[in-house]
Subunit: 298 residues, 2 copies
């Protein structure tokens, strides 16, 4: 049986690079063949898993510069049954690709809004007068660059090779330690690894309602490595909270925490326990910077 | 003396509508004339205040569906000295504007990514095959619609009137109670009103470090109405926290809280105390839905 893995396409995106790292790991673990399936959006990648079209989706969760990927969190909450099987941290090094001879000839730069934002400073300094055009992915514009000699695109060295577009500058991201964390999700239960993720909504109009779930973790000595709020989309000022903790679902303290959380949340969703996959440079990724493997502590 | 107010342009944006509501309030309060100054981005509006080019900027902070506006929070933290003088909650009702005769003729839809996201469901149902093109504002594409009869733009009824573009459908946002909260900021100190906003970073590698600042509010019975994390942009997994509380800077409990916070945060920035301005429908805004004036409680 072949395992299918959805990711944001077209080919050459950072999501595909993360999916490739996951495929290497899956093949080693299971001995099975894997097939990559590009989708036009993050939400469509996740829906493909929920509907049983594919076995896994590899989706971006947060970037070290631009923060959370709202679409991933919102779709995970909405689809309800997805479980996280792996976290993958990918170093991100952006390049400016173009058929132009020098960067002075460039009038337009295409890329995903997150990539444009991550190169903001470099663009302001080196190409202050170009028009920045947001795309659905870092690779969407690459096929049409040949017809547009005054256009450039921000993408990876890997994409430059795949699409045979010359690299005019690299790296051009403002923060050298730029990394993106991805999650590999599927419909199967997930309970291995030392990271656990969950999300909850809170009972309405209860002052101090957020403190109780957070005190649960504190009292049980469970370290929270991330808290992220998202709107419930019902009324302004009502939020969901996405929380990552250090701990495994089968650990007593985590089991107790979940029992206590059901008492102090309105709706609680547990996305499983998983490990972090270090991405090796041997995969020919576009950076030699190692991803930071230790997570922060709140 | 005329007061100048920066906002995201070009004319007709929701930021301009919020700025107009603020101008009405400012004129009543101060008796001064006000001048609106459109800027090409949110960060440029804020920088114009920091550099003394304008007196105020009105910038979006969060939308009830799409959540926080990362650029506003990141720029506020970075510019350091800006103070919030007013919160403005604007009801958002999007319309599809086009020179096309029917929606079936539309092949392309332009708008700001937040507006495209807020009409996602409507677009999938009514225009499943159109190309969605993100722009820097909801009004950026309006001037060129005349040359493109198969293109539409998502913007407000007010923008339709300003640019004389026919309305093909309204309202088209997926959530009827769609609202955006804006802040009016300036360099002057701000200490009037029952809302206070602040942000802090935490000492690195201290487990449970977030709990202490939150316990300060809890112990002093200060209600937190919002907590939002943003990356520090240094390493993945290190965050800043933006917090809104109910309380005024000159209140004893808030003064004590700030003293205690300096002990338990790495870097603390206080953005002032301010009131919430209800936006009246008499301003001819594009919605008759009243904004929810009560804030949530965490």
């Amino acid at each position: 049986m072949t395992l299918s893995i959805a990711h944001l396409g077209p080919s050459g995106t950072y999501a595909e690079a993360a999916a490739l790292a996951y495929v290497k790991h899956l093949t080693q673990e299971t001995g099975k063949q894997c097939l990559l399936c590009p989708y036009p959006s993050i939400s469509q990648s996740l829906k493909a898993v929920a509907e049983g079209e594919v076995n896994f989706a590899v989706v971006p969760v947060e970037n070290s510069v631009e923060g959370s990927v709202a679409m991933t969190l919102d779709t995970l909450w909405q689809l309800d049954r997805l479980q996280i099987h792996q976290a993958i941290v990918l170093p991100i090094a952006h390049a400016l690709l173009s058929q132009a001879t020098t960067i002075e000839d460039i009038k337009t730069v295409y890329s995903h809004p997150q990539a444009l934002a991550q190169c903001q400073g470099w663009l302001e300094q080196n190409l202050p007068n170009v028009q920045l055009i947001p795309m659905n992915s870092t690779t969407e514009a690459l096929q049409s660059l040949e017809q547009e000699p005054t256009a450039g695109a921000i993408s990876s060295l890997r994409a430059a090779e795949l699409y045979q577009v010359p690299v005019l500058a690299h790296p051009i991201n403002d923060h050298p330690d730029n990394c993106t964390r991805f999650w590999a999700v599927s419909l199967q239960p997930s309970y291995q690894g030392s990271h656990t993720s969950l999300a909850f909504s809170l009972p309405a109009n209860v002052p101090g309602a957020l403190m109780k779930p957070l005190m649960v973790f504190e009292l049980l000595n469970i370290n929270m490595s991330r808290i992220e709020s998202r709107p419930t989309k019902r009324v302004l000022g009502e939020y969901l909270f996405f929380i990552d903790v250090e701990g495994n679902l089968e650990q007593d303290s985590v089991k107790t925490a979940l029992q206590l959380l059901t008492l102090h949340t309105e709706n609680l969703k547990v996305f499983g326990s998983y490990a972090l996959l270090p991405v090796e440079s041997s995969l020919n990724f576009d950076s030699t910077i190692s991803p930071p493997l230790s997570r922060g502590r709140l």
